[in-house]
Symmetry: C2
Subunit: 252 residues, 2 copies
């Protein structure tokens, strides 16, 4: 059975997250329904990982096996006609059976966007967190560096998360200003639930001068209550999933 | 009774247009409900004009009379807390009773945006019409000039429109390329139903080399069937409403 690797983008606004849930509109659910309609057989879709309700993706990666069907490069065209407007098929290719969208991941990159203008821009409000504050970018960067490297990210993870091992490695955390927007870029080998959103909430606290302890101490505390708020989902986008192949661009 | 002039922006995706309709979510309906909740009295809101279902506004203008209440400049702050995220209160001021959001309008500017990249950008797909075509901007401009001036716009108006006088004046029609986006800017003294969307559909036909007669002849025919398609609502935004006062910016 040929295995297809598919890159998709989606606007998370109207989805209850990526992962299938009975009776709710999810990205995985919509993809499987659309593929089943096109291929006239049921298809199981595996994603690189979940995204929470309301979170967007510029480049989520999934794979699926098909018993027959068109050459891989036709999927983009067929899916573009079959998918709703808030899911876009970007590219598809046939991959060896050893490829797995989730288990083969080497790195992921997320972008969290804050909009600091006094009045939110109506054309970006679905994709950015409006915090009309003067943010001290230097302060944010100075705190962000403590996150880079291998750490126990318990303080930056939803308290109820059942995962035992909360050690993850962040390769880069960049704070980039673009006019009234501030982008927080995180690249790592894995992410815990709400991790980027708690990092964003904490770095915004740092930029607003209201962080009570340094990120270094927050990490060391291994205590979710020490970090900042969980920033809202709509500012977050899964930007790139890197499998270590040459064509995986990590940053724009 | 003090009269308040309010500028709002909205994302039209989840609205059945501007004008109130029983049982449907509309911009006017949401504004009136929010003001009633804040002021604890019923308020009637008058807009500069309708926008169709799905059409956005960067700067729609409304007015309303209030029996009492805070100084005009407090409305923006109060409304920003009370309104849903897809309607933004931009600014408010007290105006003389002679001001009327609809009858005092001098000019309006609309922007229609086409996205021509092969793969639509997920972050702009709610605000642009995806037509993955190589558009000849020169051709589009050459046809657009025929629209400028006073004309009978019957060919560029929904066929069922009951308005008798379809003469309107367009002061400017500009076609502006910005990377893979093409913006069609229209400024005029009044617009008929679907007028900008039919102009956009026709100019895209011109740019794609499939216009069968020139815009000059289409205008002269006074026949809706001669013009191009009605472009979809999500590419359109009401950009500015000009009342002839100094602070009304027509273009960004």
């Amino acid at each position: 059975m040929p295995r297809i690797k598919l890159e998709i983008a989606y606007d998370g606004t109207d989805f209850h997250g990526f992962a299938k849930q009975r009776g709710l509109r999810t990205v995985q659910g919509v993809l499987e329904e659309t593929l089943a309609r096109i291929l006239k057989c049921s298809v199981e879709v595996y994603g690189s990982g979940r995204t929470d309700a309301g979170v967007h993706a510029r480049a989520q990666v999934v794979h699926f096996d098909v018993p027959y069907g068109p050459p891989a490069d036709k999927y983009v065209y067929m899916l573009r006609r079959g998918l709703p407007r808030d899911v876009v098929a970007v590219r598809a290719e046939q991959v060896p059976d050893s490829f797995h969208a989730r288990f083969s991941v080497r790195r992921k990159t997320y972008r969290y966007t804050v909009q600091t203008a006094p009045v939110p821009d109506i054309f970006t409000q679905r994709y950015s967190w409006h915090e009309p504050l003067a943010l001290d970018i230097g302060r944010m960067r100075a705190e962000a560096v403590h996150l880079v490297g291998e750490h126990d990210f318990t303080s930056f993870c939803a308290a109820a998360t059942p995962v035992e091992d909360k050690r993850r490695t962040l390769y880069r955390v960049d704070v980039v200003q673009d006019g009234s927007y501030v982008h927080i870029w995180c690249t790592g080998n894995g992410f815990l639930q709400y991790m980027v959103r708690i990092i964003a909430g904490t770095l915004v606290d740092a930029g607003a001068g209201r962080l009570r302890m340094s990120v270094r101490d927050i990490l060391a505390a291994c205590d979710r209550t020490r970090a900042g708020r969980t920033a809202p989902p709509w500012g977050l986008a899964l930007w790139a999933v890197d499998y270590g192949t040459v064509d995986d661009a990590i940053r724009p």
